[in-house]
């Protein structure tokens, strides 16, 4: 390997390290967790409360999102928006989100909460 290719390889590695939140799937915008943290007002009322239960149409505890995979959460939001997943509140909320919003929110929630990180 020449010095130039060494340098190029190092640059690629550095670039990859600088983009930890790049979305895995093609066509999905990269998420920005900081932007996500400013868009999650409509999420926290249910997902931000430990043990919160959704009451309609069925009673169960809303899923924990902290530390969940970013790509999975984007897919979940897309499925709510398209109507493939049918929970009424989530459909309404997801319908209001752009692809960028979904990516940002998923990037934010993919970060483990302090509680998980401490474990």
């Amino acid at each position: 390997m020449t010095k130039t290719t060494h340098f190029a390889a190092a640059a690629v590695v550095a670039l990859a390290a600088a983009l930890p939140f790049a979305a895995a799937a093609q066509g999905v915008p990269a998420g920005n967790p900081v932007a996500g943290s400013q868009k999650n007002q409509m999420c926290t009322g249910c997902h931000g409360i430990e043990g919160w239960r959704t009451a309609f149409p069925e009673v169960y505890k809303v899923p924990k999102l902290g530390g969940q995979h970013q790509a999975y959460m984007v897919k979940a939001l897309q499925a709510y928006k398209s109507g493939e997943r049918t929970h009424p509140s989530m459909r309404a909320i997801a319908a209001s989100l752009s692809d960028q919003d979904m990516a940002d929110l998923a990037a934010y929630y993919a970060q483990a909460s302090l509680k998980t990180a401490a474990k």
Binding site: G48, K61, L65, G66, G67, H69, Y72, R85, Y109, K115
Partner: protein
């Protein structure tokens, strides 16, 4: 109401509660065995999935996990892969799996 009637009613209530608790008790060991057989390849044996498209299950709420499996089984939630796996699970399998993944070292938690 006489004393004996009252006693009878409270005994019946206690029996009903005990029966309910027994019906709900999930078998975590059975869940573990089923998870190894059915779920582990994608979600990891303890539910801490290493594949970005597949959700982490460990530490997730029991009732949410059970609802997801019931919805995949019924077709209310559509996913070709999960429809096949969940379709083959019994009601007990679903309760056992949900209970098992819930008590694994948590990969997910509530984030404000």
């Amino acid at each position: 109401m006489t004393m004996s009637k009252r006693l009878l009613i409270s005994l019946a209530a206690a029996a009903a509660i005990a029966a309910g608790a027994a019906a709900q008790a999930a078998n975590i060991e059975a869940g573990k065995a089923k998870a190894k057989e059915v779920c582990a390849a994608c979600h990891g044996e303890d539910g801490n999935s290493q594949v970005a498209d597949y959700p982490k299950l460990s530490g997730q709420h029991t009732d949410y996990l059970a609802k997801a499996l019931r919805d995949y089984k019924s077709g209310a939630r559509k996913n070709a892969i999960m429809a096949a796996f969940a379709g083959a699970l019994s009601k007990d399998d679903i309760e056992n799996l949900a209970a098992y993944f819930h008590v694994q070292p948590a990969a997910v938690s509530t984030r404000n």
